[in-house]
């Protein structure tokens, strides 16, 4: 399969009053054309920061990208996103890669009609006239399943319901038919039935428009349903990447295993105790000098306190950053 995106050793730090926050300490991953990559991890693990770093969306200062490469394989050959200037990254944003944010209410401009917010991006990337862009916006709203799209285009975000607002947000992200959609916890703020509708919508659009999707979430249940591959993040690093079935049936990293243990299972006996993970994520103000999960790990050895584990192949397409990963042959 062809890659559309390949990120190597991405390092992002926040330079704050209290010191340097090591938000990302060498994140590497790739995205294939047409696949859905689920990105899971606790809040603060660097899921969103990774994606925003790619598109230069973090406020600088305090954020600074201090290393790495992010190749985007477009029609004109590979392009390093991190090296692009403002004009260059503007072409990618919205045009090649669309972003769906978590809270559509705060992510949409409250004093601009939804139609104008969609038109704006069409005018910018496709050079449409305002009138044509407006008509196209109405079509897009219709396409994402908003009833009476002509009327709704002229409405303001606060006049939409939560689910409709998220649909409008999606219409905005796909307006210029980007190759990649980054969905940053798009269903967290919604109730369960609406959540399912939004997930269906994104998957439908993905196959119809032949896009790749990066789906950020902390909900493993959602990931199981939609992702082709899953990447688990912890304290600013990728700790495990695997095809979705491998991850759920043969998790290798102790953190992934604990994460799965914290998941309620259907069919479990009534008094089954949900396992929670002891301890808290590490203080990112300290520069990592060893495995970041070591404090919470039941299997840590001396090595784990001395070195930073690198991602290693466990089986084809399955990597984990652990000195003592669980494999079919047991702990090594």
């Amino acid at each position: 399969m062809d890659k559309i995106l390949e990120v190597t050793d991405l390092i992002t730090r926040f330079h704050t009053f209290d010191g340097v926050v090591h938000a990302l300490s060498g994140v590497s991953f790739h995205l294939y054309r047409g696949e859905t990559l689920g990105v899971v991890g606790e809040s603060g693990s660097g899921k969103s920061v990774t994606m925003m770093s790619l598109l230069h969306l973090l406020a600088a200062p305090p954020a600074r990208i201090e290393g790495g490469r992010a190749l985007y394989f477009g029609d004109n050959g590979p392009l390093d996103l991190l090296g692009l200037d403002t004009a260059g990254i503007s072409r990618i944003r919205g045009g090649r890669m669309g972003f769906i944010f978590q809270d559509a209410l705060s992510a949409l401009n409250p004093v601009m009609t939804v139609g104008r917010q969609i038109s704006e991006t069409l005018v910018e990337h496709l050079g449409m006239t305002t009138a044509r862009a407006w008509n196209r916006s109405v079509q897009l709203l219709d396409y994402v399943g908003i009833p009476e799209p002509g009327k709704r285009a002229a409405a303001y975000p606060h006049q939409f319901s939560g689910g409709m607002r998220q649909r409008a947000m999606i219409a905005l992200a796909i307006a210029c038919q980007p190759r990649v959609i980054i969905a940053d916890e798009p269903t967290t703020a919604l109730d369960v039935t609406v959540q399912a509708q939004i997930i269906d919508l994104v998957l439908r659009l993905k196959s119809e428009m032949n896009m790749s999707v990066i789906w950020i979430t902390h909900d493993l249940g959602v990931v199981a349903g939609i992702a082709d591959r899953v990447m688990v993040m912890y304290a600013g690093t990728v700790v495990e990447t695997a095809p979705v079935d491998d991850l759920f049936y043969r998790p290798a990293h102790p953190y992934t295993i604990k994460l799965l243990g914290a998941l309620p299972k259907i069919g479990q006996a009534g008094n089954y105790r949900l396992e929670s993970i002891d301890g808290t994520p590490p203080d990112l103000l300290e520069k990592p000098s060893h495995c970041q999960f070591v404090w919470r790990c039941d299997h840590a050895g001396d090595r784990c306190w001395q070195d930073i584990p690198q991602n290693r192949e466990i089986s084809p397409g399955h990597q984990a950053a652990c000195f003592f990963p669980f494999t079919d042959k047991g702990v090594r």
């Binding site: 598109l55 969306l57 406020a59 403002t86 004009a87 503007s90 072409r91 990618i92 944003r93 919205g94 045009g95 669309g98 972003f99 944010f101 809270d103 705060s106 992510a107 949409l108 401009n109 409250p110 004093v111 601009m112 704006e120 991006t121 910018e124 990337h125 303001y156 606060h158 905005l172």
Partner: protein, 313 residues
């Protein structure tokens, strides 16, 4: 919308009634209004005669009734000093005050808002420092002191402006301001300018980090367009109320400046009438200023409601 305007209108009428109440009873504060107005050397007969003339020997309720009855028709009695209806005097002084306040507002808008914008977009820059300085000094430099210093430097030593008075020139029947308005207007505008700089700066800084601005960038919109369409547009809405409130302040707060520059406006009239113990005129000015402020607040609220689609009724 109509219902909102109507309810704000009713509210304003209530406030104005409250103002009348305050203005009326203020004179009763010392117990005897007449003794406030007359010279200490007046004979008891003179006092009694004035009391009779002004109707202060009637029961307070009756006095209040006739005060209100007069007030709603714009009649606040006669100025003791000028022997003219108080409202006529006020209206004759109004153009000068409006000229001063409008110029001051214009100065503070033209200088304050751009500075606040640049500062808010570049935190930590020279402009940011300058804007913080302006905000702070606007709040701490007394305008009456600033006026004195400006007169000293620009009128006395450099001779660029007249030291006092209002000159106008007339073109095609229109009375137009001359440079004589600049020094008083600048002194008066400093506070408002500081407020506008402060407010614009913090609004821009706040809105810059809003999620919807990030969304705009994520759509690939160019920096300049994000500023104009998303950041400035949203900062402008709350700015409406600040400008409204500040214009009210400028119209009613020019007592020092008008005194120092002998500017023939309302503030000067107020200072004169207090010096003359001409309290019917003071009452009228106090009510008139309140009326202007309440009216401006009403207009501001309506403008705000029109500009912000989120406000629902």
């Amino acid at each position: 919308m109509q219902r909102y305007i109507l309810s704000r209108l009713i509210q304003s009428v209530f406030i104005l009634f409250g103002v009348l109440l305050i203005v009326f009873f203020m004179l009763q504060l010392t117990g005897d209004p007449v003794s406030l107005m007359i010279s200490r050397h007046a004979t008891p007969e003179d006092v009694e005669a004035l009391r009779e003339e002004l109707g202060f020997n009637r029961p307070v309720a009756v006095q209040f009734g006739s005060f209100i009855a007069g007030a709603v028709t714009g009649d606040f009695g006669k100025s003791l000093r000028h022997k003219q209806p108080a409202m006529d005097l006020i209206l004759s002084r109004l153009p000068a005050t409006i000229e001063l306040a409008a110029t001051a507002l214009l100065l503070s808008l033209v200088l304050g808002i751009p500075l606040g914008l640049v500062a808010g977009s570049n935190p930590g820059s020279f402009w940011d420092l300058l804007s913080r300085g302006t905000g702070l000094l606007g709040q701490t430099i007394p305008n009456f002191w600033l006026a004195l210093i400006l007169v000293l430097v620009f009128s006395v030593h450099l001779g660029w402006f007249p030291t006092f008075g209002r000159d106008t020139w007339t073109v095609l029947g229109l009375t137009l301001p001359t440079r004589s308005v600049l020094l008083p207007a600048f002194s008066l505008s400093l506070f408002t300018m500081g407020q506008l700089v402060r407010f614009t700066r913090s609004a821009v800084m706040e809105i810059r980090s809003e999620d919807y601005v990030r969304t705009a960038y994520s759509k690939g919109i160019a920096h300049r367009k994000v500023y104009i369409r998303h950041i400035l547009r949203n900062a402008a809405i709350p700015l409406i109320s600040i400008v409204g409130v500040q214009f009210g302040y400028l119209l009613s707060g020019s007592i020092y400046i008008e005194t120092i520059f002998s500017w023939p406006g309302l503030g000067n009239l107020l200072a004169e009438s207090i010096g003359n113990r001409d309290f019917a005129l003071v009452q009228a000015i106090a009510f008139f200023s309140s009326f202007v402020v309440v009216f401006l607040n009403l207009l501001t609220d309506i403008a705000y409601a029109l500009a912000d689609p989120r406000i629902r009724y």
